[in-house]
Symmetry: D2
């Protein structure tokens, strides 16, 4: 429970020093309730020994599957999809030999029971299976741990090592001295053991279905130095900013960013538009939970507590402010107020993604339909509502083309696998923007 740094004390980590295999998962509580029993990995004892499962994602047919498992007589101790997956893997298939569990068959069976969304690590004895659902909805990358001795002539110490690491985001590799190796493909089962990395199988999607990697990983969730589908997230965001400048040009003096996530898009917008890029906001790193609940006075003042205004940089100027997305519309409003009070003559908001209108059932925590600003009556006059001089969003087509442009050129250069793109056909899940879900939802 709690932040990773708090949960894993140096003492706790020290206890792990003698193993050579491990899985973990940081679960961001999407339900608002953090429950200890939902902590991952889920570990259960089976006839053949313990299996452990780490799961990123959310099963679209969880309710139906729960019923099925409980009808078999298994009591489920949590509300978690991940426990459900673990118990499904523990179920002995009818055809299996009693003393030889066939984990790959069990994983394939799981993949026929539920189409999406899941990226899994399954550990049994000395093997880890890395699995991505057939739609590739959640990311999963493999990194290679480089031994120091191969890098430096100076012989490495006792703690030198070589090996493999799997992660949702490739950005985590560098800080432990690993290099990006490749993505796990949609539907792929990869085995990691002392014999190295081996692709065991790629379970196909139904005929005609495209892959459906979550487009919001590019827009918002991922760290900018992560790589998906062969391209760096930062570059995609910068391309979104350029596309936005084409779709929504502004008559203004300067371009700036809501730091820090919108900065690549803001620099892209500045480059494309020719307007100078400046900083207008400085982030207050010490805003913490205590101050998140302002009293009546501060709420009425509408203070932008997270940011300080860099007044002298923009007083008397017309500002284009780039944001990466507007979800509820609560945070942008005090920022605009802050800039205007500090002397901006105009503030034009340009959003580097389309309006979010639909819920996600595949693992992403999106507010209810009613809370989304794009579904409210106020959206008709969004500029007036948030106090901006104008507001414009990137189109869905603009976003998809900014994302897929990079993949196409990689395909052309044969730099990425065709499996990843379904025989040359690229696809992404844009359900939260368009309401088109990759699979039919069962209730």
């Amino acid at each position: 429970m709690g932040l990773v740094n708090a949960a894993f004390s140096p003492e706790a980590l020290l206890k792990l020093r003698y193993g050579n295999l491990g899985i973990c998962h940081t679960r961001y509580s999407t339900t608002g309730i953090s429950e200890l029993q939902n902590c991952q990995p889920f570990v259960v004892d089976t006839l053949h020994g313990k299996i452990a499962v780490a799961h990123n994602g959310e099963l679209v047919n969880a309710q139906a599957l729960r019923k099925k498992v409980m009808r078999h007589g298994v009591g489920l101790s949590t509300s978690s999809d991940s426990e459900l997956i673990t118990q499904l893997l523990a179920l002995t298939p009818p055809m299996e030999e009693l003393d030889a569990p066939d984990w790959v068959a069990r994983i394939k069976n799981l993949m026929t029971e539920t189409p999406t969304s899941y990226s899994l690590l399954v550990m049994f004895k000395d093997v880890i299976y890395a699995v991505r659902d057939p739609y590739g909805n959640r990311p999963l990358s493999i990194g290679r741990v480089v031994p120091v001795s191969k890098l430096h002539s100076s012989g490495a110490g006792d703690e030198d090592t070589e090996g493999w690491v799997v992660s949702s985001e490739s950005c985590s590799f560098q800080s432990i001295g690993a290099k990006y190796y490749r993505e796990v493909l949609p539907g792929e089962i990869v085995q990691i053991s002392k014999h190295g990395v081996k692709s065991l199988s790629v379970v196909p999607r139904p005929e005609g279905d495209l892959p459906a990697f979550c487009i919001f990983e590019y827009v918002y969730f991922a760290r900018p130095d992560s790589i998906f589908e062969g391209q760096m997230v930062y570059t995609v965001r910068q391309r979104c900013g350029r596309q936005l400048a084409i779709e929504a040009p502004t008559d203004a003096d300067v371009v700036s960013t809501v730091p820090e996530s919108a900065t690549p898009a803001a620099l892209g917008y500045a480059q494309q538009s020719g307007l100078p890029y400046i900083e207008v906001l400085c982030k207050n790193r010490y805003v913490g939970r205590t101050f998140i609940q302002p009293n009546t006075r501060l709420r009425q003042l509408g203070v932008a507590k997270k940011f300080g205004a860099l007044t002298d940089n923009f007083a008397g100027k017309r500002v284009v402010l780039i944001d990466d997305s507007i979800v509820r519309g609560n945070t942008i409003s005090p920022i605009i107020k802050l800039l205007k009070e500090a002397g901006a003559t105009e503030v034009h908001i340009r959003v580097a993604s389309p309006p979010i209108r639909y819920p996600c059932y595949m693992g992403i925590n999106i507010p209810t339909k009613e809370e989304l600003i794009a579904n409210k009556p106020e959206f008709q006059d969004i500029a007036g509502y948030i106090g901006a001089d104008s507001v414009q969003y990137l189109t869905v087509e603009g976003l998809v083309s900014a994302v897929q442009e990079g993949i196409s050129s990689l395909q052309k250069d044969k730099m990425i696998s065709s499996s990843n793109t379904s025989g040359g056909r690229v696809g992404h899940c844009t359900a939260c923007l368009t309401g088109k879900y990759p699979v039919e939802l069962e209730w």
Copy 2:
């Protein structure tokens, strides 16, 4: 995790104020490892809704049952017998109607799968089932919550209530304003609901088997004001002291106790022997964990840290010191040293129970055979080993008769149910003293 008072803060208890049904269990970690996941009650979701199970005891055939459950495809997430019981109850029996779970049938089925030892509370929706295994190895009592308004003419407030409470030890009833009602009988399934308490069934033991209530509850574990089989534990202990005075009289000046648990036996010994009862030790209530690990010096001094000597009471006198049991023989030795250094001319140890020689597989945490003083070579000269002038134990026969004497007189007076005593035949588990286990142990 932790002590009850720490685990259940006033805030946590406040959250429970609107329910009218609940179960809990304080599990003393017998394995030395306290694990959060072993916390009780176990709660699992089934086709019909959640069931919760609190369990006191240890299944004699746990390993075989685990295999059976796992062969069915259930992954077990802990090493706990109690989770095993919960999953066994969750399993749909083949004959059951799909939409009408027959919990009593399931509980009876469980009781045929495992003979002992368990006292259970099973909660489902608005009903609690209180269950005791056919041998009655672990205790279970029912109490009645008395409404204030029936006691006082002054009308009761909003929080007044009436109801039922079930507990291992009846001593807990008084402090919440409840009265002892009766014991759950060996093999009995009692239903508690808004309709009150109702006995549903008594599952019999195999022909010829006697009940096997743990005799050590009388000797050591239970609080003296608890009632088992119709008699107060204090009275049984006092009777043990009297019996000990008959079996092992001493030529001495005074009788005393190792406070506080041996006091009833010491008073019984004094009454029977005619020797004056005095106090020789005063308990140090502030000895805590920090000081439990003494340094080399204190270990060499052999200091009795938990007790202070009431020197003036016994200096120059011959002391009979009553203890309730001697398990490892480590604690009595520094006490004898303390008394002698403070001026006792002789110290005779009389133990109000027989030597413990065998492990318990039914839920009681007894040291390994090798650690038990009664199995060590030193036991041949136990007095010399612990520094006493003489040491004598109560016999097994003496203990059994001290325990059963009270039951017999109650039976004669028809004050207790014959079910409890198997058609007039009384029986107790004395396995730790005699090696005779109530059921054959499966491995």
Copy 3:
């Protein structure tokens, strides 16, 4: 802050392993507010180096002294008398040589500034001064740490040691392997250093004033195995019980105790009266803070949560119940109710000390005058108020004679120093019982 065991973790104690001198003090917060800044010892830096002061007691003229110190220009950072003492010791006396602090002179000077009450440990560099105020109001004893090597032929390990220890209560010596050596006398300054223990001076009381050791240490506060003025506390309490049996005999069947503090008096009463001693209450060791705030229902039930009734021991009998003191009258009432509901035909309360009527200004936390039951109108019919069949207290004369009888016989046998008893004249502070304070109170 917090209990000693919690505040001093094994890790914290390990840091202290290389020193050979130390002082500490556990301060029971008498004001209800526990403040970290009032934690002892107080340490201040002076021209000559750091001094540290541990203080037990309360200065009768604190307010006047504070003013005096502050007039000199010293800002006081706490409301604590102990800081005041520390700053008074830090003040350079006018006559002192600048580079040779005369701590003994400074301590004597302090003792002329404030007559009582204080027992002090003052540490400076490699010396500790143990000091007791001229009235000897608070206790202070010296113990000798016995090296193992002198006790056992087996050579001692590295941690063996010999030395001295000073404590309010001598009961603490045994558990660290020390022996009671002697008391610090009223007004005495004792120096403890590597050269051993040395009496430096005895500051006299004003002509005609008797010593004034707190009589309530005997009655209630001290552990029964502690020694004051040459006699064991337990023995004094037992004598109080005997005296009570003489002053307040009862027509009853059995004598019992409110465990555990009243047990010596109860045994004394039983011996003197010839009535049998039995146990009627069993202490619930697991009652903790959570349950201290009962809800309306439990408050109305008046449940004695701390105790269980040993019903079978007294049902149908007339009980004399001995208590050590009755302060507010809140706790005895539910106990009587408990005994009567469990079958006692009569309950007679005999209190082994006189009623408390006056506040203490010398370090003991006594409720306000209004809260003391002896000052309430209900006291006229105290038996009716608490539900007893009769209530009788020990007289002040009875208590004083029970305390002083032991000292007189020791004096006769020349076993204790005459300094301790002011030329053969014994005296005790009975202010809380009589309103006669040992010194005039300044306000």
Copy 4:
């Protein structure tokens, strides 16, 4: 103790809701030892009531002053300068009337005892005195709390308020709805009470001495949206970047920053040099304490844990990387390695401040002389040592002119007070760069 958000829980803050005056100070532990007793404010009780003192800075003559205070007989309970100041203020001056403390005289007296460095808030009853030392070494600003009702026509709620706030950095004003009002001048005593803000006195420096505001506040410490001497810190940093581009131009393809503190200087460098500004590093916000101690392997790899490389932005390019300062030289080296491994063909380091060579005795935590890279032999080939293609620092003259240029133009426009700049003469403390301390240091 601990971070502000942890130390001040919402519950703790709620207790403060009924006061209308308060001071606090977050003390960054410069000695490495965080001690509870050094927590501020220091509060002492005096003859006239409590005074509380919050202090930012470090007294250059602390040792001499401590001796002086202790000679007067005051025991100091901490090693803190701030306690010393508090006790100095508590000392009654010889001439003062006994019942009328003259705090302003006492503060002036304090200012004659110690020239620098301190910014103080002194609270006594219903008045706060804001004080800045005559050299103005540490910052201190006053803000005005704006009532909501003056801003909005909508009537304000109960919590609306107006008032004054004093802070080291003006950036804190905005987040509580206050506006920058003015700086406290060097040597000024400002009184804040219900009557508003009133300047009471300006204590002069010795003839000829310039003000000595810490130049490193501009370079490194302050948040960029703070205002000192009439100018925004961000603007000064940007000017330092421009000046650096003039002093140290580079033949390269792109300019970038070590985020986030060097960004204003990097943008200034880019503007002046005409090179494009890009981002090369992305900050890893989740690097915490656990990971700060890398194991041998990670240390050998020299991994830049705090940053991820935005590879695609600079692969194949020559990068000018702007840093704000290089203290020990440990952090820049792995960053350069990271950029080169990710494909940068050249990495040129340009530092927007001069090398630090001397210790600070005025409140800033600077490593020892030996730890400073500028004092090590390796500094001769700093580029080789850290792995850069070239390294250049801003000159002291360049820094001073970048700082003072803004002040001069403000003076010219008569926009800032001449008191602030000593009759038109501007001065700053550059001791850590030049070894020239504003006052002679006493030892």
